[in-house]
Amino acid sequence: MSAPRRRILHVDLDAFFVAVERVYDPSLRGRPVVVGGSAEGRGVVAAASYEARAFGVRSAMSMARAQRLCPDLVRVSGKLDLYQKASRAVFALFTELTPVVEKVSVDEAYLDMSGTKGLHGSAWAAAERLRRAVRERLQLDVTIGLSGNRLVSKVASAFAKPCGQFEVLAGQEARFFAPLPVGALPGVGPVTEEQLHKAGVRRLGQLAAASEPLRRRIFGSGADTVRARAAGGDDTPVRPPELRGDAKSLGREETFADDAGDLGFLRAKLQELLGEAARQLREHGLLARKVSVKLRRADFVDATRDATLPAATDHDGELLEPALALLEGLAPSMLPARLLGVRFSGLSRGFWQASLWAGERARERWLVDALDRIRDRHGGRAVRSGASAGLAGSRPRETRADPRGPDPFALPEPSPDSHPEPLPEQDS
């Protein structure tokens, strides 16, 4: 008996950061808009609207260059909390279709729709309903690629941008890929592309048919895999966060608009960044055994120190204490600093077990869970604690009220009798 046919959606939000900004400020619609830091503050473009892209403005470009390319460019400061909130609202719609959702980033995910035909009809029809639901309920646009595997769906969604859905019909994966340039294959960057061009291989069909010695020379041990991929083959499963154990580390870092020489400010900033990263640990059901702190001095010299914890944890308090000690150790030789980062590694699957915690620890943990819930609803920096509370006035507001009424990205209130769950909610 043959395996059931897989139906995989690759869902990508169109110009996501800009689109969220436009929900809150409709005057931005139709204008060349970028999200990013100011040119004076060494900012870069984090996201550009399609109108800005028409001028050659691209992500990761310096803001100064972007403004030269497009003199009428409208710049909006990034508000990560707002985007995460919108992302959670979008992902809530994904999980109405299937529980098998793999979050790639705040604006990109794979959905495994295999076996859902009886519930939702064809994956093609479900994809169309999803696009309409995201637009009608959240005023955002998504593009969807649909096929029998992740790789082809990813390339298909690029075909459909913006605001479309593209299905590669079953059995046509190799035909679809064959005429595409080799650079269209995820993982083939400019250097590899150049090597392939020099070898006379310009299209994926040619790459799939290339000799083994040639593939081995360019791709090494990945030679066989690349042959399958070039023909549209991929059996990688869609892995929801609780099934994915491949994360090596996660963390947060921030480049300051002005170099920071005040240790008090850095302590407060570390607490804030660490709190965000620890929340991410809990969202993914992970525990960390090691914490690292990184400082980048104003002259671009980097220094990192790390500490191993007595036990793996996802608790802010247990992570903060060693992190602050690391910062104290680094600071004397690293100020003024232009960047501060914190990273957790030694990650393992884990969850909070009530039986192992008692008294004050259990109460602290419940407080952490309650704060997570508040941040889910109102943004990651809606509640601050300890030293980081002093940062609130020094930063731009993270959320704004919607002048037209209720917040479109607000998730439903938890029921009043809901019990703080020891496991973090998935944001997908």
Partner: protein
């Protein structure tokens, strides 16, 4: 009531698809796009979820297998139509298109379909 048969119209897709097509275009080969124009909805059983305005990505080759969705023609662009290759390699009409005449030849194999919120 007069039934207007659907038709396929050559189009240049917008957005990213245009870049891919331009990058993949070989004379007489590669992928081309046809827009489906239809004013009548055929019976659901043969609908194939194809709507007016859908773009079909067609690989310009004639090596089709049973089960493939194909575009055939009788030598003119006006005669282009969709069919499914049956188990016995006979072209079976679908989506309201007429059955192919004996002189019909394959124009290409449909590899994908593109739909935007607003039809192109």
């Amino acid at each position: 009531m007069v039934l207007i048969p659907p038709r396929l119209e050559a189009v240049q897709p917008s957005g990213k698809a245009a870049q891919f097509v331009a990058a993949s275009l070989d004379p007489g080969a590669g992928t081309f796009f046809l827009a489906l124009r239809r004013s009548e909805a055929p019976a659901a059983a043969e609908d194939e979820e194809l709507c007016d305005g859908d773009l079909l990505a067609v690989a310009a080759e004639t090596d089709a297998e049973p089960g493939d969705l194909v575009v055939w023609w009788a030598g003119t662009v006006q005669s282009q139509a969709l069919a499914r290759v049956g188990p016995d390699l006979v072209l079976e009409p679908l989506a309201g298109f007429p059955p192919p005449p004996p002189a019909a030849t394959l124009r290409g194999v449909v590899v994908g379909r593109l739909r935007r919120l607003a039809p192109e």
